[in-house]
Amino acid sequence: MELHDEQVVRREVVLPVDPETAWANLADAEGLEGWLADEVELDVRPGAEGTARWSDGTERHVVVDEVEAGRRLALCWWADGEDATLVDLTLDEHTDGTRLVVVEVPVRVVEAVGAGLPTGGSAARGPQLAAA
């Protein structure tokens, strides 16, 4: 079985900078803060746990799943009492700068289809995800 388009949220944007500059916005909490969430407390390394907060008062727990420096960040996040979802952020070179592709999919869907995310990771089932 495979993931289908109707089961994932996918977005992409071409950022007007080189991949190295783009990665700086994914590489640590300071980079992520201000766009991914209003406040980010997180070490960007596999297995690290942290928090993302928004100005409307919402908050999500975050667990870093995979990091490929300069190219890819996969994480799992969830609000208290809600299902966890996987988020995969991938950078690729593009003639106009750097393409960022985002895929978000409920963990339950990934488990049901027994597959990784369509962007290519094996993002699914670490022990920390099972606990989520």
């Binding site: 993931l3 089961q7 977005r11 944007v13 900078v17 783009a22 766009w35 809600e82 979802t85 049901a112």
Partner: protein
């Protein structure tokens, strides 16, 4: 824990992950009250497999069963689909906002590239 919209969306997407289950769901939508035996005659899987798929759809809140004599009749319950679509729409809109923020930040930093 309450059954919240996000949880239901996850359950619905999981239920829809299987292509045969999607065909079963489609059959329920087209012919309310269809039986497992009828579906087994139409789809290339056993009646037992059909019953499993119908159970998964019921657990996701997508189907309901009505017993009439010896046969069970199945109907679509569309409400969870609406929740799943709502999750897609909300989550998609959140990413549109986030990526727009990131793009604005980087465009401001490097005006020469635009």
């Amino acid at each position: 824990m309450n059954a919240r919209a996000d949880d239901l969306a996850g359950a619905v997407f999981a239920a829809l992950a299987d292509p045969t289950r999607r065909r079963v769901l489609q059959a329920l939508a087209e012919r309310p009250g269809v039986t497992a035996s009828t579906l087994a005659g139409e789809l290339p899987v056993s009646r037992q497999a059909i019953v499993k798929h119908l159970t998964a759809l019921r657990e996701a809140g997508l189907a309901e069963r009505e017993r009439a004599g010896r046969e069970a009749h199945y109907r679509l319950r569309p409400a969870p689909l609406t929740d799943a679509v709502a999750w897609m729409a909300t989550t998609g809109a959140q990413w549109d906002d986030r990526l727009a923020r990131l793009d604005r930040r980087l465009s401001a930093e490097s005006p020469a590239r635009r």
